[in-house]
Subunit: 242 residues, 6 copies
């Protein structure tokens, strides 16, 4: 395996330090602060006793997600999307990805006509905000369903499998795990991988920002992601005391 | 002086516990977490090397503010303003108020053609988010100007006077200081007062949500606010090590 | 009491000439042209047989207000808000203020599930458009309720007390009543006061646009407002033949 | 010629009473209140020392128009376009028509790189608001150019010919001039005709809202319009003292 | 009759080559490609089993239209309206015209509570896109109603009369039929005429873009339109095999 | 290799019939109709002599894409995005994907300060519209650069490699190539793959809509895609006569 000196000093297959804090704010049914190195995202899960129109009367639930960044979560200040009057294409892409990933983790038919609304808000960004959001939202959603179970509304937590997400990329020609902002800005390929605790894929989104990448690199990236996801799921379960 | 048992158990003239944490996030020139009881607001101050069109070429600076609430900072989830595509009238009112208050604190002609952009984002709401935003933004702005001074761009911090803000209200017929959410929901009059460290008024905004209030109540409310502001300014200066 | 020569030549405690014309246009249930010096506002009150969603089935009514300025009501032409596709923060602030003030004047539980929609449209602006709007809307609303009573829909006009509004300010260091545009552009403090005919406060909104103002000025401003409101309520009642 | 009893009692070829009041508001360069029966429109003309991007540097001027209705200018209250965040298709159609008609009246190359901005705001509607707007805007524009001439910016008023507008329609099978709201609501065909004082057409817009109309009706409608326009131009010139 | 050499080489009263292709796309109930010279428009008619709110429960149907241009249907690329977030005034004017014209052709009370939604999308523009849209939409609507009849939902096709549309104009002083883009760009007057197969007018919209036009020209333009419409209706019926 | 009976009757590794028609419309520098079975997309490439703000003065070019669907390109009519006033998240995702893919195919530094604007408009949809768009846009872009070369503005066509796109998916447990709408609606996993003619990856976007998929399935899907892309590139080059 080729190697490279990463700006972070990490090994090619090393995650950043991950910290998951539950009950971070007091109102939401699930509220998690996830820190992946310097990336910090508040993930809340809110239970609402209604479903979107297209599901009314079908006896099943729904999960959906929204994503935002505080204007100065980034190096230079970004315009506030609420002030501009629209969410960017990037924001919409990310929140659709979070929603799909979480819907893959839970059994939508097992918690009644309710919506679990996930909100992922980036407080501080240093690369990997969308993958941190998914990993954190998994824990927040689990907590919200626990509350629902505790108050007798459901009998079991409708989890099908845990999902977590991580980025991998080709940095100076070498596949590496969990890119931070400096690495991300200078890499050729960036791939976000979302997997279950059983090692199956939920989503793969890879983009060659510089040179196109070959099948060998693809395989190495998927290997790295598999390892990272395994560790993240462990951390999720630890945080939840499972 | 009449009295009343407040839900919080506080004396009529007692502030909630205030905590001011500087350098809360790493990218902004000034970044403060202010906690007023369970109300938590991240206030960042960003320096931008440009001014709005109406000030171009006039050799002076500008300060402006934006305000937002995370969707689940509140008891029930609020719609995300970025997703709705517009800021509510309430949001606009608040951010205009924050901007005016902070412009009263600093000498706009003393820091060149720069804009100090304040962002106040509520992480958790329990009443008094707009006043907490102003009190916290004062500290964030001071820090941002300190950085500007440290890098030699200005010679002195262009502060004219410190400003802080607090709410007062008539709760069950009795004027009280610093309403939390429970008190605020059940009070007749709510007044936000912004004052300088010299005891002068920058803004007064009082609304009789229930019964109109007389001149005696008005005077008592202003007295309470004066006391609260004095304490808040002390805490701001302590936090800044002044 | 200090004094000052006002551009208008008025005494510090003198209102401009006020004229209230009822039935100004023919379709609305209440329609008033209010003229305060050169400020002219058309205030209409429309009765609609429905309430907003949050009040449905509660057996009570609602009052709300919208505010606008004709593009050339001002010295230089302003952009038309309908063409820009959004109401400014200022517009929203003002229409929220008008709505709150009028809701304080009437008993919302005494006119059934109806909405009284107020529209205040400035034809010509010369300072004090928001206070003129409130003072005029009070008369238009009263007229609309009279029509409702005349057609037997309610038994009494659900007025709790009359409200009127006036601005006061510190002009060249001296507190004065009822600022016109020239004075307003050149004053340090501007305060809008909305009071009932019983002399109680409904709203107070004071802003130090220049120097912050002390408690003594505050007291003098409130005295001036009290006098002005007393006269305005007299004029409202005269216009209504009460 | 067939005849019909009109709700208004007017002869088939009779205009409503027209009143043109100049200098109706004080800020605009031209400001006219035009009353056509119960239809009342404020038409202002504002001179701005700039042209749209596509004309920059070409040495010629521009004229454009905006149109609005006060929410309660109509029988039932209409939603305020500024609050809805967009102008209706009808509004846009009308303001484009006003703009085109007025640009036909003046020589755009004869008043420098300036924009004459027309605003037509309906205070009270009783049919024919768009034609009243054009007829009134002609006078307001003339006044604005007179001011420009008075201050020496142009040497002559750049009028090519006077334009005026009127509606005609087929009411209960009979062609009539100048429909009011009651007639308009119950007619088969409605046609707006804009002509010059020389009797040439600037615009013709006819719509069969009920039965399609034949060439004979078309010819009679154009005859009626010709007569109405002749009278309107006389009134415009009288109002201007020409 | 005066004559002129048209850029297209056509006689003053000659239409361009018209081609009507039915079943152009496979999903819509009616789908027509209409080609008028180089102008190409896809017209689809979709049947929806619902009516707008204002018609609910009235037992009648509705027809409405939308219009769009592909960004590069024109000589220079136009901005995409979906990306700009609003339809231009021109687009709204055109789609309102198409809707009115088609509603004149069919009996809205004879096809139940259904909406016939017309979509006219310009693939390639060379003048006359709005008239081509109407002429093509007539055929698409007829086809959609045929399908409705075929599946037994209605007994007869609710057509009152065929409508078709054509432009006429004054080109270099001479009235001509069916302007293409080059002629349209250089003509003084442009008039769109929509007529029934019985030779009655549904809409007439004439604009003097250059010099105003007199009654003689008006009459000649209407004559030309009448002839063109007669030919277009023949082509519509041929295409439908009627 | 497992097999499955596809609704289309195709072999698991068979593309639909592909047809590429160049010069489909007359105004655009490149204009292609691509048909993949019943999916039909018009792809135009427009050259504009300007670059976005962030590239001004850098001496390089830009390529960007927009995507749309005609309202009745789909089985049931979709709302028109221009009428709704915003592009959906799906639309934005797709047009961002097209833009990135095409920027990977050409050397942005080799055609001066110009923008190549791609427009992909779906006329008829039957699955795979985004991949058809990319494959067709490649040809349209090539044609546009050929025109630029023909008029002497560039010396060589700045192509780095050809890119094409195809979807693969797991249908009834079996990986298959090039899903049509019926297959897509009933599959567990859908992956879009964009590759170069050298067999390297530009983008991979896989989503498990039903069951998560394992590494074996992933590998088989990538194999299928590789084969499909090879054929598509051949067709692109044939169409271009290369």
């Amino acid at each position: 395996m080729t190697t490279v000196t990463r700006p972070s000093g990490r090994a090619v297959d090393a995650l950043r330090t991950i910290r998951i804090t539950r009950d971070y704010t007091k109102h939401a049914e699930g509220s998690v602060l996830i820190e992946c190195g310097d990336t910090k995202v508040i993930c809340t899960a809110s239970i609402e006793e209604r479903v979107p129109g297209f599901l009314k009367g079908k006896g099943q639930g729904w999960m959906t997600a929204e994503y935002g960044m505080l204007p100065r979560s980034t190096h230079s200040r970004m315009d506030r999307e609420a002030a501009k009057g629209k969410q960017s294409g990037r924001t919409q892409e990310i929140q659709r990805l979070i929603g799909r990933s979480l819907r893959a983790a839970f059994d939508l038919e097992a918690f009644g006509e309710r919506t679990l609304q996930l909100d992922c808000d980036v407080i501080q960004a240093d690369g990997g905000t969308r993958t941190a959001s998914i990993t954190g939202a998994m824990v927040a959603a689990y907590d919200a369903f626990s509350k629902l179970k505790a108050r007798g509304a459901i009998e079991t937590i409708p989890v099908k499998h845990f999902v977590a997400a991580i980025s991998v990329g080709v940095y100076k020609g070498v596949p590496v795990l969990d890119l931070d902002y400096v690495e991300d800005s200078d890499c050729d390929t960036d791939m976000n991988v979302i997997m279950t605790d059983a090692g199956s894929f939920v989503e793969v989104q890879g983009t060659a920002e510089g040179a196109a990448f070959d099948r060998v690199a693809m395989n190495r990236l998927l290997d790295l992601a598999e390892g990272g996801i395994r560790d993240l799921v462990k951390l999720q379960k630890q945080a939840l005391g499972l």
